[in-house]
Amino acid sequence: MAEFHFKTPLTEADARKVSVGDSVYLDGIVFGVRDANLIRVFDQHVAPPVDWQGAALLHTAPNVRKVGPGKYESICVGTTTSMRVDRFTEALLRDHGVRAILGKGGLSPRSTELMQQYGACYLSVTGGAAAMETLQIEEIEAVFWEDLMPESIFQFRVKDFGPWTVGIDAKGRNLQDEVQLAAKAKMGELLAKMGVT
């Protein structure tokens, strides 16, 4: 399995280069997004306050300390379950040019098709290991939509952010989905072993 170091903004070629299981490190800018701010963008039709062409988006809602007007320090930045915002993948890739979605738990088969079509990847950040992730964030450069705190849009500057595991590549593979399908296929055998028929 290969290791990649990318700088943001990402290109389509970057996103198409990686395969499931590879590890990826990012340098540059990562935007924190999640339920409330994506609902505002896509269901309430409010244009996002930042340009997401080539962006890496991270599913998060961090613990922060306010240190001045619009200025925050990170206390703990971690990653949240991606599947809750799965239905926004298409618009993010098609209309906003996002190249990488970072989150935990994976995305749907439909999102996998879209990543293949538009040239994007899903990086599986290690859920619950936020302490390690926090130290890789150099600064919270900006916070948009403070009224949604903690579900604001965060602009993080990161350095050697990783190694995160490629969960979905642009070749149509989805590792978490494959693992779960294999588990489902094995269930009959496991139930039989427990005497359940």
Binding site: M1, G21, S23, A36, T60, A61, P62, N63, V64, R65, I75, C76, V77, G78, T79, T80, T81, M83, K104, G105, G106, S124, T126, G127, G128, A129, A130, A131, M132, T134, L135, M149, P150, P163, T165, G167, L175, Q176, V179, Q180, A182, A183, K184, K186, M187, L190, L191, K193, M194, G195, V196
Partner: protein
């Protein structure tokens, strides 16, 4: 034994400290289980994930950092010694204030909102939150508070079914395995699988939650339920789901069952998953005001 007036202030600061420290120090039984699972891991991705878990556990312990960003739903299991004489409403208010102070003074992310308006008071509290379960213990003069900040990744993976008596224990086995496989990567495996059996629907789910607070390595005292715990845990660990659902040999750190008797027509089963950190922290407060902290 009548508690002094200062007792409630002590409960307040103790609850504040329980909340904050629970997010930083992972219980020793959980750390040991993660280490054992890491040593067993053979695949590259699986080993990578466990190394991130262990690094974050160490940062919590050594650098006083929060291990995960999710401050969770604050839940308290409060055992009141039967010999204690105290004002329950003052106790309740002190627990709520401690929760709010942890949020404000650390500060912590307030993860609690109105389910309809999504308003966040930025206090980690709201209508009926924190959740406080009271129980009474005979012949004790100790207030025993077990706190858990229940993260949503695993809490969203909660399942309940009113099976019928004809479904038997086999129905329970099938339900538990199906839910764990269905949850896949989402609850941040390897998990503690809490299983409630019996009771009414509400009690059954509470038992499943309570089961996740039991230290790893302990078995249900009923030998039949203990055997069921072991059997289910072995089956779950053969699913191959692994840490973060990326594949591996450890999907559950343990299966814990708690049970209650039920109605002649009922066979309720509930599953409540707890993520790999399984944060919990306990304080025992004596009537004289001595505090002993543990897990």
């Amino acid at each position: 034994m009548e508690v002094p007036p200062t007792f409630y202030d002590l409960v307040e600061t103790t609850c504040r400290d329980l909340y904050i420290q629970s997010l930083k120090e992972i219980p020793p039984d959980v750390v040991a289980a993660i280490k054992r699972a890491a040593e067993r891991a053979t695949r590259e991705v699986e080993r990578r994930i466990f190394s991130h878990y262990l690094k974050s556990i160490a940062l919590g312990q050594e650098q006083n950092m929060m291990v995960c960003q999710d401050t969770g739903i604050p839940i308290y299991w409060v055992d009141i010694g039967g010999k204690l004489r105290l004002d329950g409403s003052k106790l309740d208010a002190a627990i709520v204030r401690g929760t709010e102070r942890a949020t404000r003074e650390h500060p912590l992310r307030s993860s609690i909102v109105s389910p309809i308006t999504r308003e966040n008071r930025q206090t980690s509290t709201g209508e009926r939150i924190p959740i406080i379960h009271y129980h009474f213990v005979p012949d004790s003069d100790v207030l025993d508070i077990l706190f858990m900040p229940k993260g949503s990744g695993s809490e969203n993976m909660s399942f309940m079914k009113m099976l019928v008596p004809a479904d038997g224990v086999n129905g329970i086995k099938r339900f538990v395995l199906e839910q764990v496989v269905g949850a896949g990567a989402k609850p941040c495996p390897p998990t503690i699988v809490g299983v409630g059996i019996g009771g009414s629907s509400d009690l059954c789910m509470t038992l499943a939650k309570k089961a996740t607070t039991r230290p790893l390595g302990t078995l249900n005292p009923d030998p039949q339920l203990a055997a069921l715990e072991t059997e289910l845990c072995e089956a779950i660990n053969q699913t191959g789901i692994g840490p973060q659902g990326l594949g591996g040999d450890t999907t559950a750190l343990g299966v814990h069952i708690e049970s209650a008797w039920t109605h002649i027509t009922c066979n309720p089963v509930a599953v409540n998953l707890q993520c790999w950190r399984a944060e919990r922290r306990r304080a025992k407060i004596s009537a004289e005001g001595k505090v002993e902290v543990g897990f």
